[in-house]
């Protein structure tokens, strides 16, 4: 059972709020699924989550600064039920191997499918947070282990790690 990871900007958009009818989603949650060229970037996570920290660190290392990291993790089978096309394409992170192995793009997305995905994510995904301190530890760890390319780490992160 593999998972798909989607980085989110505002975790609160996935909360169940008291005014929200059962089985409905916050309208704002759709903003977490902004497409480009009708495609959406996702990362494949192994069934034992063995690559989860690695991908989070790789994404965190490309940001301007160390900060918390929020993400949604969903069982891939739910997404398969949506009948959307997932295509392996190189990702953009600081881990070259991860970019080739685990990045997927959801392509040819219609508005209905995005709504379906947002609904799935709200009702079935784990929405998690990693603190800034933990991200820092993970980036250091994967740099030391040679998974993160030092040249692909942002200047801001490099400076923060040197402090």
């Amino acid at each position: 059972m593999a998972f798909l990871l989607r980085k989110v900007d505002r975790k609160r958009r996935f909360d169940r709020l008291p005014w929200l009818p059962e089985a409905e989603i916050q309208a704002d949650s759709l903003r977490e699924f902004a497409t480009r060229n009708n495609s959406l970037s996702l990362w494949e996570i192994e069934s034992d989550c063995s690559n989860l920290s690695r991908i989070i660190a790789a994404l965190g290392a490309r940001r301007d600064s160390l900060d918390k990291f929020d993400y949604a993790l969903i069982d891939r089978r739910y997404v398969d039920d949506l009948a959307v096309q997932l295509v392996p394409r190189p990702g953009v992170s600081s881990d070259p191997e991860a970019n080739e192995r685990w990045h997927q793009e959801m392509v040819e997305l219609s508005g209905r499918k995005i709504f379906g995905l947002a609904t799935l994510m709200t009702t079935h995904a784990k929405v998690c947070r990693i603190t800034r301190r933990s991200i820092e530890d993970q980036i250091r760890d994967f740099l030391d282990r040679g998974f993160i390319d030092p040249d692909a780490v942002s200047d801001g992160i490099r400076a923060a790690l040197e402090r």
Binding site: R12, L17, P18, R63, R129, T131, D137
Partner: protein, 220 residues
């Protein structure tokens, strides 16, 4: 082992009730004004501030500080308007220091403590967009400006009482980012009254960070 919020579970039914009014802490005039301004509109704010601080009060020091603040408020209005405009145009994104953050940093660089207090009163006004207030408090939490640390902490503590879950969340993260252990008590209180389970868990995560990494001389 990375620490994650304990709400990393599949979605559950959540509920949140009314948020009680904030407690007023400390005798400071600006603190008292901020509490009142929490409940007043931007347009009312100067009048309210004047009534509270410049009204028939015998304390000349309070009178003087209120006058100064009102004067500062007028002087800083264009800068604060610009800051809020940019923050509205470019929402804060975790880890990304965009134009809005640059504007916040340059505002802090050129302003005094009073400037941060004036910004605070705007952010706490009832007309402020919750999302913008949430973003600005996050940026203020991340900025280095030791002289205004107390005011930025007070702002975050007050936003813990916001009706907006997003603002409460950002306030909790900002308190952790400020690394000022004086914010622990307010965060503990916020956790105790929080009704949304996943937000409560994220606040606990912020508290854990603050307890572990809070330093007695933050931002030094």
């Amino acid at each position: 082992m990375s620490r994650q919020s304990s709400n990393c579970t599949f979605s559950e039914s959540q509920d949140h009730g009314a948020v009680p009014a904030p407690k007023v802490r400390g005798p400071g005039s600006v603190l008292f004004a901020s509490w009142h301004l929490f409940r007043t509109s931007a347009s009312e704010s100067n009048v309210a501030l004047h009534r509270i601080l410049v009204g028939p009060q015998p304390d000349l020091a309070i009178h003087r500080s209120a006058s100064d603040l009102l004067e500062q408020a007028e002087e800083l209005r264009p800068d604060i308007d610009r800051l809020l405009h940019v923050a509205t145009e470019e929402p804060y994104r975790d880890g990304m220091l965009g134009r809005a953050f640059d504007v916040v940093r340059s505002f802090l660089a050129k302003t005094s403590v009073a400037g941060v207090q004036v910004l605070t009163s705007r952010l706490l006004s009832r007309w402020m967009n919750d999302e913008v207030a949430a973003d600005v408090v996050r940026m203020l939490g991340r900025a280095k400006h030791p002289v205004s640390l107390d005011d930025r902490r007070h702002l975050a503590e007050r936003l813990l009482y916001s009706d907006s879950p997003l603002a409460r969340d950002s306030a909790a993260v900002a308190l952790a980012d400020l690394e000022d252990p004086r914010g622990i008590e307010a965060l503990e209180d916020a956790i105790a009254r929080e009704q949304i389970p996943s937000l409560k868990a994220d606040m606990r995560l912020a508290l854990e960070d603050l307890v572990h990494y809070g330093v007695s001389t933050p931002e030094s």
